[in-house]
């Protein structure tokens, strides 16, 4: 620690260069933070989805399922609770304002998704109002909705052409980071009442909470067998398998993230290594003097490495902090929910420190190997 002033004095000598190198680190770790958040956002569904929940769909997105299936699924042994959800593709003001809207049965939904943080009074108000909706905290923030607001949606044309009005009765929050708090839940009873006759008695899909998650595969099979050869066959999979399948449809985003990440780090390593090399080259005579007055080779090595590591950690901290701020801005309007998973900071700090040490290693070793006599001759 007592050499800290020496370290700082060295860094202060070329303020611009130090600033630029710190800046390079900040930029790289900023990108690292953003890419990590992007990847986490894409995987969100998988990581957060319960593997103790099954999703029962028709044979495709378009095939809806009859409501009486509810009771038949509920009777299957090992099924703790069944709920249903129906996609409502309404448009809020402009088609660009896309968010997930589900028509649900409040009582069933709550039993299958106990993990959301919901005010009981708000939930009761939602359940009591046919036109009531619960909106996710992120969604409410995006459009500035508050409890009591009236939200008009234009329904998809198969549900008619007049505007449907909804009342915001509550705002729900996710319990863990990355939980989806961007949805819009309305009452199934309302779309039954207000929709056309052919929309009655059918639901989009069922969600099944299991008593024991280890039985998932067996129960999924039982459900599909139950409805085989009927007019509405089902396809049952765990919620996380569904999310994983959806992610795979989005293409190889993960590969893209890692490709970009590696390009950035390779570049960064070069930039820092180069800067450190120049810094050492310029100070050859000084380092030689240090050695001449008795400091060990190892001390010189440590000095150069510490300098590099300090730059890396300061720059990295700035970059990660900025990334955290940007991730909170809801830049993609909920399409890809960015979120910073736990541990990003730790991994980022480790990466920064590691990069700093690796980058400083070559010049540090050459400083350590410096022959005092040769170097001093040049003074």
């Amino acid at each position: 620690m007592k050499y800290l002033p020496l370290l700082l004095a060295n860094l202060k000598r070329k303020k611009i260069r130090t600033g630029l190198t710190v800046g390079s680190f900040a930029v790289a770790l900023f990108l690292f933070g953003i890419l990590f958040a992007l990847r986490a956002g894409l995987r969100q569904g998988i990581d957060v989805a319960g593997s103790d929940r099954l999703m029962v769909q028709g044979t495709s997105l378009m095939n809806m399922l009859p409501l009486p299936y509810l009771a038949r699924i509920q009777r299957i042994p090992g099924v703790a609770q069944v709920a249903h959800a129906t996609w409502f593709g309404g448009v809020y003001q402009d088609p660009k304002n896309f968010f997930v809207q589900f028509a649900i049965d409040p009582a069933l939904w709550r039993a299958v998704y106990p993990e959301y943080v919901i005010d009981e009074q708000e939930w009761a108000a939602f359940a009591a109002d046919r036109q009531g909706v619960m909106v996710g905290a992120q969604l409410a923030k995006r459009y500035g909705w508050k409890v009591g607001d009236r939200i008009p949606l234009r329904p998809p044309s198969y549900l008619g052409s007049t505007m449907w009005d909804f009342n915001v009765r509550g705002i729900y929050h996710g319990r863990q980071p990355g939980a989806d708090d961007g949805q819009f839940w309305m009452q199934y009873a309302y779309i039954q009442e207000n929709g056309p006759s052919y929309f009655r008695g059918i639901v989009g899909f069922y969600l099944v909470r299991l008593a024991d998650r280890d039985t998932a595969a067996g129960i999924a099979k039982t459900i599909d067998t139950e409805f085989r050869n009927s007019a509405n066959e089902t396809r049952t999979q765990t919620e996380s398998a569904f999310a994983a399948g959806y992610l795979k449809q989005m293409g190889n985003i993960e590969f893209l993230v890692f490709a970009i990440g590696s390009v950035v780090f390779f570049t960064l390593l070069l930039v820092t290594g180069n800067t450190m090399a120049i810094a050492v080259r310029e100070r050859t005579s000084e380092l030689a003097v240090l050695k001449a007055v008795g400091y060990s080779d190892r001390f010189v090595l440590g000095l150069v490495l510490a300098e590099s590591a300090l730059i890396a950690v300061v720059g990295g901290a700035i970059g990660l902090w900025l990334a955290g701020r940007v991730v909170g801005l809801d830049l993609t309007r909920g399409l890809i929910p960015l979120y910073t998973p736990n541990g990003t900071m730790a991994v980022g700090a480790a990466v920064a420190l590691g990069t700093g040490l690796v980058a400083g290693l070559l010049p540090a070793v050459s400083a350590m190997r410096l022959s005092v006599a040769d170097a001093l001759r040049r003074v």
Partner: protein
């Protein structure tokens, strides 16, 4: 008088390590920038090329997408009767269509993709004359037969001519394959509209969209006015190209925004690298600069010389970046289109103008990274620097 460029080339070579670092930084940035734009381009181009300039698509008013639209047979008749619709032997060139989504596993991952299945009539090939049958034959009306797009065969498992595929409640024989020249239809499966409706428990005479071939490109305005003002139907007409372009909006905007953000941040990093390189070049060469000044080169010449050196590094970096990214051109990838809920295969598309943009981007980085050090070089005190010699 200007300092010869050879001087810059030589000095960049002497400090090769720093130069290489700056070049790699710029090349990486340009590469990522071009690749992301190429991705957005490819996605958009795939959808835009689905539309033909002479075609118009009619949906029920306010529905926005085919999937959310509903068109009874009477509405289809009204549209077919519009005088602006082209006719062959008195038959209007109109294609009423339905779309459904089927879950078919992807070859690459084995997990299901949402594949768009289009119910068509025999007239579809006349209306969409960019679609050609390249293998087998077209479907016969009224039977459970399907034709597949070229992209669909490559992307989804089990789609081969001669095999069968389960869609909805039925099993369909694949009798042919079509090529729509890289458009979104290539990722689709086409089948007979009324059979498909039956299989998906829908009434037989309900369609979702009508695509018409107009008598001429200019007839669109009159056609739109005619069908939209007709009191018997509530519909909206769009140019087919505009319709498909609008369906690419969300994904294209997202890719472009993410790409630009990443490229901008990387550019900042690359500029830092270039600045560092040039600043150290200036400080290492302060004696040389002083000598140059002493023998009569003006400060303007010094600024220009260092600026040119920085631009040279940027050009090399830009060219390298462009060359490195070229192999991704044509690589096919797929993603889900949020606006249609369906999976779509498309290819990276690198066009000369994208490469041009990449080069401009590189030069910009070179300029920003080179000018401040160049100015510092020119400002140095000659006498002071020479004394250090």
């Amino acid at each position: 008088m200007a300092i010869p460029v050879v001087y810059n080339v030589r000095s960049a070579r002497v400090r090769w390590m720093s130069s290489v670092v700056a070049v790699v930084g710029i090349a990486g940035t340009v590469g990522v920038f071009v690749a992301m734009l190429a991705l957005a381009r490819g996605f958009r181009a795939t959808l835009v090329s689905s539309g033909l300039p002479q075609n118009a698509i009619v949906l029920r008013g306010g529905s926005g997408t085919e999937m959310g639209s509903i068109m009874p047979i009477d509405a289809v008749r009204v549209i077919e009767d519009a005088p602006q619709v082209a006719r062959v032997d008195g038959v209007p060139l109109a294609s009423p269509e339905v779309v459904v989504i089927a879950a078919i596993p992807m070859r690459a991952t084995g997990t299901d993709a949402n594949v768009q299945v289009r119910g068509v009539t025999a007239r579809v090939l006349d209306v969409r004359n960019n679609v050609k049958i390249v293998e087998g034959r077209f479907i016969h009306p009224g039977v459970a037969e399907a034709v597949i797009g070229k992209g669909a065969r490559d992307a989804y498992a089990g789609l081969e001519v001669g095999k069968t595929v389960a869609l909805g409640a039925g099993t369909w024989t694949i009798v042919g394959m079509f090529d729509s020249q890289g458009s979104a239809f290539d990722s689709e499966v086409w089948a007979d509209a009324s059979v498909l409706n039956g299989n998906y428990n829908r009434p037989a005479n309900i369609y979702q969209s009508v695509t018409v071939r107009l008598a001429s490109i200019d007839a669109f305005k009159a056609f739109k006015a005619a069908v939209e003002s007709n009191p018997r139907v509530t519909v909206e007409a769009q140019r087919e190209q505009e319709y498909y372009a609008s369906k690419s909006l969300i994904v294209t905007t997202l890719i472009t925004a993410v790409g630009t953000l990443i490229a901008a941040v990387m550019a900042l990093g690359a500029v830092f690298g270039a600045l560092n390189t040039m600043y150290s070049a200036v400080s290492e060469r302060s004696r040389e600069i002083a000598v140059l000044r002493a023998i009569g080169f003006g400060s303007g010449a010094i600024v220009l010389s260092f600026f040119v050196e920085s631009l040279l590094i940027a050009i090399v970096g830009g060219v390298l970046g462009c060359v490195a990214v070229l192999p991704v051109n044509g690589i096919t990838t797929g993603t889900i289109n949020w606006q249609t809920f369906s999976h779509l295969a498309f290819a990276f598309r690198i066009t000369p103008d994208l490469l041009g943009m990449g080069m401009v981007f590189a030069l910009l980085m070179g300029a920003v990274g080179g000018l401040p050090p160049a100015i510092r070089a020119a400002r140095a005190n000659v006498a002071h620097a020479l004394r250090a010699l």
